[in-house]
Amino acid sequence: MQLMSLFPEWILTHGSASLVVVPLMLAVLTALNPSAKIAWATVLAVTALCVFTSLGLLLQVISHGPIHYNMGGWQPPLGIGYYVDSLNAPILLLISVVAFLCTIYALPSVAAEVEPKKKGPFYAAFLISFAGLLGMVITADAFNVFVFLEVSSISTYVLVGMGASRDRRALTSSFNYLIMGSIGATFFVIGIGFLYMQTGTLNMMDIARVLQDIGPNDRVVQLAFAFIVIGLGLKLAMFPLHMWLPGAYAYAPSFFTAFLAATATKAALYLLLRFTFTVFDPSWDFVATALMILLAGLGILGMLASSLQAIFQNDLRRVLAYSSVAQVGYMLLGIGMATTLGLTAGYLHMINHAMMKGALFIAAGAFWYRFGITQVSDMRGLGKTMPWTMAGFTTAGIALIGVPGTAGFVSKLTLVRAAAENGWWWAIGVIVVTSILAIIYIGRIIEQAYFHPVPEINGKPVARNEAPYTMLIPLWIMALASVAFGINAEWTTSLAEAAAHVLDAGPNTVIPGAHDVMPVVPTVTGGH
């Protein structure tokens, strides 16, 4: 309660809107800015402000319950509403924090990887992508979700393509991502269209309310659900719709990879949670079947297949990218169980994985920054030449494996408990097997770095060349967070449990102040 007094009044009243509007507005100024330093400082200030704002929103949600914000004062369901509750407030904070830490890291990283005259637009595209992700998470309007999804995706294609000055394969990866991402977003918008046909409204709570009257046996509603799940599945890299991910992660500028890996799939996962549990009804047959067979089943397949693929990659970032697909599998498995404990596990892993993967990708970028290393086989002796960076990488890597005392252990343990509660013993087997596979793919990298002699150039061993502080600080904040959330998991677990309770409550049909609004006339579908 005392903490709340730290925040100015406007955050409590207009914080939700400013979270999206401020980055979007300043993106324009950043793009026009001739000085890369000023552009960077602007991004740093904006992300810091967003961290502050989203923290304020989270505390307000914890103390006073959900926040409803009506854009432009228009009452929902006619106007677009922003809605913050225990389900999306932590995700907002997560995206802002990761963006802030990555921006610190961007100063040296972008200087090395992006052409000087393109830096201003580069930072602007990053701000747009950041605003799009926040908008996707905060909005309560289904069509608005699509718009923000595309805002963040289109700027992501640009940013991935900017990696071309380092590796030309960035261009083809970006093109593939564009094709797959657009198909995914279009599938999503088809689903929204079918929902609108049946319910005549776009506000998520209003859709949920009308859907409760329509019931689960409507074919169009079922079709809408299928399109939405597949569309979001493409965005969140659900196995086997993940083909865009390894290329995009491997060849994008390292600063953006770290941000993308830690946040983009999480925002799409949040949307999947929001739609399956609070718009549709998880007790309906077709939703329950999809959760159980599609999400949990594909999650398990993804865990196994992608962990195996990660072992056979030699490009460091591809190893981490395939591992990301596998980790998304863990989250989907937890969500697919649809029990309170399973949802808590899935949500917890979203937070923990963001910290671990962010740290790993930041370190991977630092290896390239100092020595131009992208291959695992080139990492010999990095334990001696870049001891602090490698130690940060190792810490996050150990957390990813799930060694007791780290964040990865906490979320995997919760997942195992949830599986045991459901009697899914085979799932526990798969979790153990994939953890062993993680030991192999992370262990292989650590073994190269610590147990091989430092390579020699002209007869002399390579000198120690530590990454700059601007890289080490964000790296270590994330690495230490992934240990701290393991030693004291109370805070993260309480956030995840609060989110799981929101999901448990089922469809959210409450629209405050909407009872005096004229009901929307359902549309008649045409052409008869």
């Binding site: 069509f143 699509f146 718009v147 595309e150 289109i154 294609y157 640009v158 393509g161 071309a164 030309r168 394969r169 261009l171 083809t172 970006s174 093109f175 564009l178 094709i179 657009s182 198909i183 977003a185 279009t186 918008v189 088809i190 269209g193 609108y196 046909m197 030699n314 490009d315 992208t374 291959q375 086989s377 549309t523 008649v524 579908t525 045409g526 052409g527 008869h528």
Partner: protein, 146 residues
């Protein structure tokens, strides 16, 4: 068969959607892929616009004579319009507005896609996917070698 004619616009939507998706997956040329993607997206525009149609309704534009009548008679224009709307059936304008946004999104996607194809042509000298794969094969192989 009669069902097909009753839902003629939906039949068109489905055909366009499948044609678009097929072109995206089957063609090797990046420009053709983008064309397929655009056809696919356009089919969704048609889907949305068909759902705004209300049987026997007129376009959602308040008729001019009503506005004149309102101003001459000194009545409140908005109240007159609302009164009018209660009598006359209008089509639903919301899907059109949504699709305006979606068209903008589609144009932006296409522009970025074409810009990428230009860059790919500059770097690789081709826009055929199999040729690009062949050009990258050696780099990929080098990366995979221990």
């Amino acid at each position: 068969m009669s069902g097909l004619f009753e839902h003629f616009n939906f039949a068109v939507v489905i055909i366009l959607m499948m044609v678009g998706l097929y072109v995206v997956f089957a063609s090797n040329n990046m420009i053709k892929k983008l064309v397929g993607l655009s056809v696919f997206q356009t089919s969704v525009f048609l889907l949305y616009i068909s759902m705004g149609k209300v049987n026997g309704a007129q376009p959602p534009i308040i008729a001019e004579e009503d506005l004149h009548g309102a101003s001459e008679g000194g009545h409140d224009v908005v109240a007159q319009g609302a009164h009018h709307a209660a009598e006359v059936l209008y089509s639903n304008p919301l899907p059109h507005v949504l699709i305006l946004t979606a068209i903008v999104v589609g144009v932006a996607t296409l522009a970025i896609g074409l810009a990428l194809v230009v860059r790919i042509r500059e770097v690789y000298g081709t826009i055929e996917e199999d040729e690009i794969d062949a050009l990258d094969y050696e780099i990929n192989l080098e990366g995979a070698a221990e």
